[in-house]
Amino acid sequence: MRRTVLALIIFVLLSAPCFAVSQNEEYRLYGAEELQEAVPEEARKAVGDISLKDAADPQGLLSRIWSALTDDAMDALSSGIKSAVSVLAIVMLCSAAATFFDGGNIQEYVTLAGCLGISACTVGGVRTLIGSGSAALSQLKDFSNILLPTLCTAAVSGGAVTSAAAKYAAASMFIDILINAADDFIVPLIYAYIALVIVGAALGGRAVKSAAKLLKWLCVTFMTAVTAVFTAYIGITGAVTGSADAAAVKAAKMFMSASLPVVGGMISDAASSVVAGAGILRGAIGAFGMAAVCGICAAPVAALGVQLILFKASAACASALPSGRLSELIDGIADACGMMLGLTGCGAVMLFISIISSARAVTGA
C-alpha cells in the first residue's frame, strides 16, 4: 500500500503539464498579428485585407494579386497614353518642320524646342513614377523587418536553427544594402541619367551621350551584381546549413528514440508533429508575405511597366520619322523608367527569394 501511494505521489510530481494550442494562439505566438498589421496601406488597397488564413486559399490570393495588377495597369495606361500622345504630337510637328527646313540653324532650334517640349511633358510624370518606386522599396524594407524575423522564428521552430538564422541575416543585410544604395546612389544616378539624356538630345554631342551610357551601365551592373551575389549567397548558405540542420534534427530524433525506452518513440513522433505544424505555419507566413510584397509592388511596377512600353513604342514610332534626336530622347526616358522598374523588381525578387528559401527549409522532419 505504501509503495502504491509513493508511486502515485512520484507520478504526480514528475508529470509535466502538456496541452495543445489552437491555430489562432499559434499565430499569436509567432507574431502573426504584428505581421498582418505591418502590411502597408498601399498593399491593403491593392490586394484587400489579407490575413494568414487567406494563405490556405492560394488561388484566391493569386486572383486578388492579378486583379490588383490589371487595375493598376489600366489606371497607368490611361495617363500613359495621354503622355505618349502629347510626345508623338510634338515629334510629328518637329519632323514635318525638319523635312521643310532641310538642315540649317533654324532646324536646330526647332529640334531644341521639340526636345524641351518632350522633356517638359514627360519628366514630371517620370519623376512621380520614380518616387513611387522608391517609396515601394522603403515599404518593402519596413515590411521585411517584420516578415523576415517572423519567418525565421517559424523556421527555427521547424528545426532549421542554423539555416534560418543565416538566411535571415543574409536577407536583411542584402535588402538593407540594396535599399540604402537605391536611396543614396541608384535613384540619384537615374535622375542624372535623365538630365544627361535631355542635354544630349537638346545640344547633341557624343561626350554627353557616352556619360549617359556610363550611368546606365553603372545602375544596371550594380543591381545585377547585388541580386546575383544575394541569390548565390542564399543558395550556398541554404545548401550548407540546411544539411547541417537536417542532420541535427535526425540525430536528436534518433537520440530520443534510443535513450528513452518505450516513450522515446512517442516523444519523437510528437516532436515531428510539432515540426510539421510549424512547417504549415511557415508556409502560411510565406504565402502571406509574398501576397503582401505583390501588393506593395503592384501599383509602381504596373505604372512603370506600362509607361516603359508606351515610351518605347513612341520612340519606335519617332525613329521612323526624320527626328533622330527626339526618338533618342524618348528612348532614354523609357530606359530611365526601365531602370527604376528593375530596381523595384530587384527588391521584390530578393524578398521573394528570402521567403521561398525560408519557407521551404529542409529540416528532415
Binding site: 495621354k82 503622355s83 500622345v85 502629347s86 504630337a89 510634338i90 510637328l93 518637329c94 514635318a96 518642320a97 521643310f100 527646313f101 540649317g104 540653324n105 533654324i106 532646324q107 532650334y109 526647332v110 531644341l112 524646342a113 521639340g114 524641351l116 517640349g117 522633356s119 517638359a120 511633358c121 519628366v123 514630371g124 519623376r127 540619384p188 535622375y191 542624372a192 535623365i194 538630365a195 535631355i198
Partner: protein, 128 residues
Amino acid sequence: MDTALKAAAIGAVTACAALLIKKYNPETAFLLSAAAVACICAAAVKIIGQAADAARQAEAFSGLSSAIYGPVFKCVGIGIISKISADLCRDASQSGTASAVEFTGTASALIVMLPLFGTVLKMMGDML
C-alpha cells in the same frame, strides 16, 4: 489634296514664267515669284488651320497646358516664315538680307523657347 494640287500647279507655272521673264526683266520675275508664294501660303492657311485643330484636340486629350505646346508651335511657325522669307531674298540675289532674316528668325525662336527652357531647367534642378 485639292490645295496641294493647286499649290503645285501655281508653283510650276510661276517657276516656268519666272524663268522665261528673268532674262529680260528680273524684277518682274521676282515679283511674280513673291506673288506666287503669297498665293500658295494663303491656300495653305486652311490646311494649317485643320492641323491646328488636330493639335488642339491632342492638347485637350493629353491635358497639357499650352505653355508647353505653345513655344514648340511658335518655333516651327517662326522657322517656316524665316525660311520662306530668306529664300525669297536669295531669289532676289540679296544673300545679306536673307542671312539677316534667318538670324532674326533664329533669335526669335530662341526667345520664344526661353520659358520652356526655364521650365525644363527648373525640373532638372528639382530632380538633381
